[in-house]
């Protein structure tokens, strides 16, 4: 079971537990080694949304308006295109070889076959504006943030199994794989907590000095929740007690994804967090210990980046951008 969960995590590029990714312990903004390596141009128009990487299949999935672009993660070559309708996010459910696209303007979610890249079912939602999504392998459900709450979809059948009413404009969401879903409430300055099994709202965590929480990431081992806020703060919350243990500076503006990984062992950082902010800043947060994090530099990119995906095989970071033309920024050492 554990192995299965890890492979899922690696596949969607959120928490590659076995990544051998090395960052010098002395890295700072001037010498953290991160720089722009490549730009993958996208065809078509429209604003890009979230990005996901499937490291095993070497694919990138990029939400891109009326489509989802599927690219070769190593070359940027197009592998295919999935139809969409105001696409916001993509998640993969490797257990069932399914992918899901949130169609923001159609109040629906498309379930597709990751082998054939064909849509196999369109799931109508009772709520409008489906946005960020999260797959929880424990309950095998896809959670979709939409207006008024979160919908839960069975990742195998594509059936909507329930929903949880939540207040506020919902941002990104993430599960801890043992019963809790954390949902950023952008205009309420809190994190909503949802029981993933009972589909019940449990309460809120405050977010320190942060305002406008949009992106969240979780280090499940340390049980730390990283909340990227539009006011340029990154509260780090101990999810056991809802306590903000650190509150670090990041770039300004909304961010739809934050990426975190767990300890890397001797010689490297103990852990790291990447935050892509709309002002064009890729912020690097270094974990010194589970109770201590520090700002470890930043990479200045172009405005408009918001989503970040980490490739556990190449240790590169991918960020969609659409200031001038739609493209994927590839950053690495």
């Amino acid at each position: 079971m554990e192995k299965s969960k890890q492979s899922i995590r690696a596949a969607i590029g959120i928490l590659p537990l076995f990544a051998s990714f090395f960052i010098p312990a002395t890295a700072h903004s001037a010498d953290n080694g991160y720089h722009l390596l490549a730009r993958y141009k996208l065809t078509g128009h429209g604003k890009t949304g979230n990005i996901r990487v499937d490291s095993e299949a070497r694919r990138l999935y990029v939400a891109h308006g009326d489509r989802v672009d599927v690219l070769n993660a190593d070359t940027g070559a197009s592998v295919g295109i999935l139809p969409a309708n105001g696409s916001n996010d993509i998640v993969l459910a490797p257990d069932f070889k399914h992918g899901f696209i949130s169609n923001g303007t159609a109040a629906s979610v498309a379930m597709f076959d990751t082998a054939t890249l064909k849509v196999v079912r369109t799931i109508k939602l009772a709520t409008q504006n489906p946005g960020a999504m999260e797959y929880d392998p424990e309950v095998k459900r896809v959670f979709v943030a939409a207006t008024g709450g979160v919908a839960a979809i069975d990742a195998n059948s594509g059936e909507v199994v329930g929903s949880v009413p939540l207040e506020g404009r919902l941002g990104h969401l993430i599960s801890n794989d043992y019963g809790r879903l954390f949902v950023a409430a952008e205009d309420h300055d809190v994190i909503h907590i949802v029981d993933t099994d009972a589909l019940k709202f449990l309460g809120d965590f405050p977010i320190g000095t942060g305002t406008g929480p949009s992106g969240v990431a979780l280090d499940p081992s340390g049980r730390r929740l990283f909340v990227a806020c539009t006011n340029g703060r990154l509260p780090i919350i101990d999810t056991d007690i809802g306590f903000t243990i650190e509150d670090l500076p990041i770039g300004n503006g909304p961010t739809s994804d934050v990426f975190a990984f767990t300890p890397q062992g001797k010689g490297g950082w103990k852990g790291a967090v990447f935050v892509a902010s709309a002002d064009g800043t890729l912020s690097l947060i270094k974990m010194n210990a589970f109770i201590s994090y520090s700002h470890a530099g930043e990479v200045k990119l172009q405005p408009g980046i918001q989503s970040v995906a980490f490739d556990s095989k190449t240790h590169r970071v991918f960020m969609p951008a659409s200031e001038n033309s739609a493209e994927i920024l590839v950053v690495g050492q």
């Binding site: 309460g203 007690i241 809802g242 306590f243 903000t244 109770i291």
Partner: protein, 511 residues
Amino acid sequence: MIVRLRFRVATVLLALAGMILCSPAFSQMLSPSALKGKKVLFVTGAADEEHPSDDPLVQKHLQSMGFAVTMAKDTDPASAAEGADLIVISSTANPRILQKKYAQSPIPVFTWNAYAYPDMQMTGPRLHTDYEVVDPTQFFARSFSELYAFGAGNKSEIGEAVGLKPQLFGTLYLQPGTVGWGRPVAGATIVANFEGDPGKAGIFAYEKGATMYNEFVAPARRVGFYMSSGNFHLLTAVYGPPADDPDLRDWYLGLRLFDASLRWAVSPPVQPSAYNPSKLHDALARIAKGKKLLFVIRQNAFEGKEADQHIAEHLKSLGFDLTIADQMDPQTRAQGQEAVILSATCSKYKLSNKYRDVGIPVLVLEGLFADTMRMAGRYRYVDYGEHGEPKESEDPPESYLDIVGSWHPMAAGLKPGLVQFIKEPDVLKWVIPEPSAISIASLPGTPEQKAIFGYEKGAAMYGGYIAPARRAVFPLDNPAYDDLTEQGVALFDATIQWLIETPSSTENAAR
């Protein structure tokens, strides 16, 4: 009929409210909403790059509580506090610059600047003995200990405001941080202490009028708090669904204790009654009338028999329904009674552990019973002892007591300082009680040796034993009652009055 009943109920309620509000001992913590607009002078110092300061966070937090905050530097004159309701002194303020600037201020002071404790007269002057700052750079291992504190003052008003229990709780979030403690004196209330040392206080308070270090009388409330410049943001708290778990709520108390301490500091202090023995006597007689009181003595005692008779006569004259029991009678004699007084004529050895567990108030007239009653430790002449007993004490006989808790009803309205207790120097017993005790009087020259003190019902006594009901010690060695001065009788009456009153926040407000 119903209307008449309602009218009577309303009349009684109004009368009760009137009694409470008019009571000179009445004190009540302001509600959180009542803090709005209260003026705080926040005294800070220069920022230190190596030790980041949370002063801006504290300022914001104070404002979020409703306080109107004015910032001041440690170099500003004391007059900066004019018009303020509370002075808050950060540990960033340089104590060498502050010196005694705010010590005499009639405005309450709340501080986490442990180095300022001596000049504020909150502790003695000896670093590492009377106060200390435990910095993980210097004391790495010890700094882990300070992540935990014991809720010694669970019945203090600060403690009650947060539901403090006599058990460990988390002070700062996980990582060892800089923590200060002080060893307050005589009249202080210790809310939380460190490292199993009852006097090593992380949070402590002085009521206005309480005796501070070097016989200095608190001009207003004073509170010391354990945190340091850069760790306000690490004061423990729990949020969201985990906050529904009572065990977690009881553990992550740091921020709530900070808020409650602030709230207590800025609340109106206890206004003690003026010393008036006859008024006190009459007040006691009113509540004593018909109360069932068990007086346990040694029948036919060789010494003190006459004094016991006079005590009994006094109690009867007050209106008590008095029952006399012998020391060898079973504890069941206390059944149906409303309070017990243990005479000093009783033999400690023969009395055994009786009356320790009774769920009614007990007044102990013999300090040497302190360990069997779980009111102090067991080391004779260390935890309890006596002055003036030729064979057992190096200290001379004494006739004076030092009032250190003048604010409390048990002090009978007497002023802080020395009062003549008995007419001639004689044996006087003392006890070093737990920090949760309410200290009223010490023996002169030995402030830690308490002659009159009490425990509130529910307070943690020695070894964590929870007081089943109020407990008090009053030093009436065998014949001493007949030698009491007028002040001594007043103290006796006041102690009994407190003992038999229903426990409420009106009496323990400042503790």
